[in-house]
């Protein structure tokens, strides 16, 4: 995937796209997940976040990464998590990055976006905010992101809007449940002076467990494509939907998989993966803690070198739409058990469905999982009995 169309990259004529295909001296932007800790447990979390990893990069290590990004002239980082704002040093790191000419766009569920924080964010050209919301109604959103998360996001957007922050992003992962709400999302974004950003649901992280129930139907993909064409550059997509280009004309953006070419992921423990949706050892290129740091990983990783090699097209080569969709998303194929050189599971020509039906082995699982434990820890949380010696399990329940 690429995030470059978020920066308003125009579709370039053939030759330039070919150069991008072969990789750049430094990423255009990269995703940096600062922590696996999160106050939410979204069912489709691409990084299986929940609990902090004890080995997460320290404040000083993060600053060293920022120094490297400044030297490499990486324009901006997309900071995510987990919920990045729960890191106690989050604002310190944001300030450090912008002071070192590395712009910051961070994704948040909004939990820490108070009026005071919103005012501070509105004052900076170098910080952009992306609020995650996966339903235009509490009912649709909270079913995926958890009870109360709709209200949290709406409050955060209201605070940003009232602080005068124009053009922050409202970021939506498109699902079977929320595609009927496309216009409603646009209205919410317009109401808060935000820009709508729609991205594709990937079967990554916990998303693998729910992908079959949540990913859009074929008819909905068509509806989404028409909607995106109609709204053009008003709506950002992070180049998520280039597989839909096989319906006809290309969508705005570079329309190429940027994994290891123009984007990559640094995870909370410093592991560098080809893309944010590919947290698996097969796509692990190195670690920023090793000698040479991030710069060495980006420039010398053999994995990245192979991703920058020209595509052969594989099973898709004979398809007349290969030039527009380029075989789709690597992560979507990998985590649904499909071969990487064949069709995307959501191939609009229907080849993905056929391929999925032929998959016999279990799909690969993510290498790391920081999900909240299924059984909540109860130590220290036990409610005192309503009355002394009242340990009846039905204590506190009124008779119906």
């Amino acid at each position: 995937m690429t995030l470059t169309s978020d920066a308003g990259a125009r579709s370039a004529p053939g030759r330039l796209t070919d150069l991008f295909q072969l990789g750049l001296d430094a990423p255009i932007c990269l995703t940096w997940e600062l922590t696996y800790a999160c106050n939410l447990s979204c069912v489709h979390c691409l990084s299986s976040s929940g609990r902090r990893d004890p080995a997460e990069l320290t404040t000083d290590e993060c600053k060293q990464v920022i120094d490297t990004l400044e030297r490499m002239q990486v324009f901006y980082v997309n900071i995510g998590g987990g919920e990045p704002t729960v890191r106690p040093d989050f604002w310190e790191l944001v300030d450090y990055a912008t002071a070192h000419h590395v712009g910051v766009k961070f994704s948040t569920n909004g939990v820490k976006i108070t009026p005071a924080v919103a005012a501070r964010l509105a004052a900076s050209d170098y910080v952009d905010v992306q609020i995650s919301l996966d339903g235009a109604t509490a009912e649709v959103n909270d079913a995926v992101r958890g009870a109360g998360s709709y209200a949290t996001a709406m409050r955060a957007m209201s605070n940003l809007s009232e602080a005068g922050f124009r053009g922050f992003k409202l970021s939506v992962v498109m699902t079977r449940q929320n595609i009927p709400q496309l216009n409603a999302f646009k209205s919410i974004a317009d109401r808060f002076g935000a820009q709508l950003r729609l991205t594709r649901l990937r079967p990554s992280g916990r998303g693998a467990d729910v992908w079959h129930d949540l990913h859009p139907t074929a008819e909905q993909q068509r509806e989404l494509y028409e909607w995106l064409v109609a709204h053009g550059e008003q709506v950002l997509t992070g180049d998520s939907f280039f597989h839909l280009s096989a319906y006809g004309s290309a969508l705005p953006g570079l329309n190429l998989c940027g994994a290891g070419r123009v984007v990559c992921l640094i995870d909370p423990v410093g592991d560098v993966y080809a893309c944010p949706f590919a947290i698996h050892e097969n796509f692990l290129a190195g670690n920023v803690r090793l000698a040479g740091g991030f710069e060495s990983v980006w420039r010398t990783s053999s994995l990245f070198a192979s991703l920058r090699a020209p595509d052969t097209g594989g099973a898709c080569r004979s398809c007349g739409f290969y030039d527009s969709c380029r075989g789709g998303c690597m992560a979507a194929k990998f985590f649904t058990g499909l071969p990487l050189d064949g069709p995307d599971p959501e191939c609009v020509q229907g080849y993905g469905e056929q391929a999925l039906a032929a998959v016999s082995a279990a799909a690969p699982k993510p290498s790391v999982d920081h999900s909240h434990r299924k059984v909540p820890v109860t130590i220290g949380r036990r409610r005192p009995p309503d009355r002394d010696c009242d340990e009846n399990p039905l204590a506190g329940f009124a008779a119906q």
Partner: protein, 95 residues
């Protein structure tokens, strides 16, 4: 979109102070922190022109300094117009 190119080669121009420019083998990438948009310079010559803008009294002089010929000038004017339209370059106030 108008087909008429609005760009005055005889005015002084500069790279917008909020733009970061990174050389690449094919030319350069430009990123504007205010508009949060990305642009490309497609070859080394246009990069030389853009770099020279701030040091010359006019865009035309910057083009000449970068070795742009009279015949090539319309193409560079179009490229500069596109950069101006996306706020990557702006008119400089002469003091």
């Amino acid at each position: 979109m108008s087909t008429e190119i609005q760009f005055d080669l005889d005015r002084p121009w500069q790279v917008d102070p909020r733009v970061s420019m990174r050389p690449e083998p094919f030319g350069a990438l430009l990123y504007h922190f205010g508009t949060r948009r990305l642009s490309f310079l497609k070859n080394q010559r246009v990069l030389a022109v853009v770099r020279a803008l701030g040091d010359h009294p006019s865009a035309r002089a910057a083009c000449t300094a970068a070795g742009v010929t009279e015949a090539e000038l319309p193409a560079y004017r179009r490229a500069l117009a596109a950069l101006a339209e996306s706020s990557m370059i702006s008119e400089r106030t002469v003091v």
